[in-house]
């Protein structure tokens, strides 16, 4: 069981890839802490042996035949792209490693 959790808002913003203003950081820390406190209610429930539900109704996954369809023209795929060159998406030089 978790202790009432502290929130590392910087870390969460980094995980979420969202730049927060100082004001947002302050407000979100407090609000998220509040909401997490509210979530603590679940810690008292006995869930021993209860299977987690990922889908409301589980049928077996449908499988599609391996038949290729018509791909999109590059122009259609990139219609909403903010920047492109030679039918490729331009991004600022990627320096981050995964």
């Amino acid at each position: 069981m978790q202790e009432s959790p502290g929130v590392d808002i910087e870390k969460l913003a980094r995980l979420s890839r969202i730049k927060l203003t100082e004001k947002e950081k302050g407000a979100f820390s407090a609000q998220v802490t509040d909401i997490l406190g509210f979530f603590q209610k679940l810690q008292d429930v006995d869930v021993e042996g209860i299977s987690p539900m990922a889908h409301p109704f589980e049928a077996a996954a449908p499988l599609r035949k391996d038949v290729p369809g018509t791909p999109w023209e590059p122009g259609r795929a990139l219609r909403n792209a903010p920047a492109s060159r030679g039918n490729q998406v331009i991004v600022p030089k990627v320096i981050e490693d995964v």
Binding site: V32, L42, V47, M53, R76, A83, V91
Partner: protein
């Protein structure tokens, strides 16, 4: 029929008039376009409406009717679309800055089914950004007002869809419901809103908020209309793996069938503290009315009800944090201009592109999924979700439907809850269990508060038994038609 009476006519009746050739699609669409022009400056339900293309489609429909080639009995009727459902070639912004310039290069299955039936997509309706919210105040672009009182919220997130129908700006509309986003605004705006069983309507082309909870559903002014629109959009779709494989019964046909009154359950947990007395009295009157119609009213218990809100917000924010990762300024979304490198591109595009509530939920979702917290939050919420669904399935062994208030109060005032996210989350307290359990449910108007705001009740049905649910709703509607209509703001002068 004059334009004024077109606006007051149900979609079903408009379809009959098209069939009888007493009205044309162009006349119908023109009347609604005029109404939008007259009242939307106040209601602000529409993010976009292109009258030219609507009238073009209407003329094409009229041509089909005149050749006897109509695609369905509803061919030519306009349908308002929540701006979260893709129609090819139309804007798809989800009321978010980050998708401000996005045009859908593909179509949703529900949208395609409208087109196949000859229905005409009628504008893009306002909503809370990415369907996150309960008042439509989280839209990046507009503040939709409640047609019954512009000081009040229309509800959300499908606030535009409910307000437009209530304000007679379109005969019916499509919304989406993740935790009450169809039913709550329907209750606030005095219209009928149905959230179908999870899997009944394809989610392909519905921009995901929380994938295991989202459903598209109809909003209209009568049970008959809602049933007819459900019949157009529902059914198995090979493009959505969670779409239910079995064919579903026609809801409209179910309404034509003779049926007996059944058993309605009243869960004690939904009639406790914190409910507005007028709402409580109203919903109790509904129960009494059902008893008079021959229904058995049986008290039931849904013991895990008080866990629904935390369970929902853990699951919904977790799924959302992942679903909204794709809006990054790379392939199609708005890109922050100042981004100097690949990392900045993400941080700035997302920081500038998302509104406050969306950011808050993404951050919350990242938290509950993060290493070390997954089991305590996400996995545990999924286990509690199992318990919540089990409560309902157990209750349904003895009842045909469950009756509850849709909301704890009538429409709150705009701005009233925006500073306090938790109080906004609690506005969904009666609707979110239904999404967790995957059940169908609708909200029906059942009267006005002393302040003149609509009150709604919710009927929850068994999985895939929308037909039965709508029969029960129809019994109420026939005995107690909701004849009140919003005030002068919605009347074209």
């Amino acid at each position: 029929m004059n334009p004024e009476s077109i606006l007051e006519t149900s979609a079903f009746e408009l379809g009959r008039a098209l069939h009888d050739r007493t009205l044309t699609s162009v006349e119908i669409c023109s009347a609604f376009i005029q109404q939008v022009e007259a009242v939307d400056a106040t209601v602000q339900a529409f993010l976009q409406l292109d009258p030219g293309s609507v009238l073009e489609a209407a003329a094409a429909s009229d041509a089909r009717w005149s050749r006897g080639k109509q695609r369905s009995p509803l061919d030519g009727l306009p349908v308002g679309i929540k701006d979260v459902i893709a129609i090819e070639g139309a804007p798809l912004t989800c009321a978010s800055r980050i998708l401000e310039a996005f045009t859908a290069p593909y179509a949703s299955t529900a949208g395609n089914r409208l087109l196949e039936a000859g229905l005409i997509p009628f504008g893009r309706l306002n909503m809370d950004e990415f369907a996150m919210g309960s008042s439509t105040e989280n839209s990046a672009f507009r503040k939709t007002t409640n047609p019954w009182n512009p000081e009040n919220a229309p509800g959300g997130s499908s606030g535009g869809s409910a307000a437009a129908v209530a304000a007679r700006e379109c005969p019916w509309s499509l919304g989406s419901d993740t935790g009450g986003s169809i039913r709550q605004p329907a209750a606030f705006c005095g219209v009928v809103g149905l959230k179908p069983t999870y899997g009944r309507v394809s989610r392909f082309g519905l921009v995901a908020f929380a994938s295991s909870l989202d459903q598209i559903g109809p909003i209209g002014r009568s049970v008959e209309d809602v049933a007819a629109l459900l019949d157009v959009i529902d059914g198995h779709d090979p493009l959505d793996s969670t779409s239910w494989p079995d064919p579903s019964e026609s809801a409209s046909e179910a309404l034509q069938l003779d049926h007996q009154p059944g058993v309605i359950g009243l869960p004690g947990e939904y009639f406790g503290d914190g409910i507005d007395p007028e709402v409580l009295a109203s919903v109790n009157r509904v129960a009494e009315a059902y008893r008079e119609m021959g229904y058995e009213i049986r008290p039931i218990s849904l013991p895990h009800t008080d866990l629904a809100v935390p369970t929902y917000y853990i699951i919904a924010t977790a799924e959302a944090s992942s679903n909204l990762a794709r809006y990054d300024g790379v392939r199609y979304t708005r890109r922050a201009e100042s981004a100097a490198n690949g990392i900045d591109l993400y941080f700035q595009s997302r920081g500038e592109g998302f509104g406050e509530e969306v950011k808050r939920r993404i951050i919350l979702g990242s938290y509950v999924l993060s290493s070390g917290y997954y089991d305590a939050y996400y996995k545990r919420a999924q286990q509690v979700r199992t318990l919540i669904q089990a409560d309902f399935l157990e209750a349904f062994r003895g009842v045909d439907a469950i009756l509850t208030p849709t909301t704890p109060s009538p429409a709150f005032r705009l701005g009233e809850k925006t500073g306090d996210p938790l109080s906004m989350y609690l506005a969904d307290i009666f609707t979110i269990s239904v999404n967790l359990a995957g059940l169908p449910a609708l909200s029906m108007p059942c009267g006005l508060s002393s302040a003149g705001l609509p009150i709604g009740f919710q009927l929850i049905g068994q999985p895939f038994a929308e037909g039965r649910l709508l029969q029960i709703a129809k019994d109420w509607e026939s005995a107690h038609p909701f004849t009140a209509r919003p005030g002068p703001v919605t009347r074209a002068s």
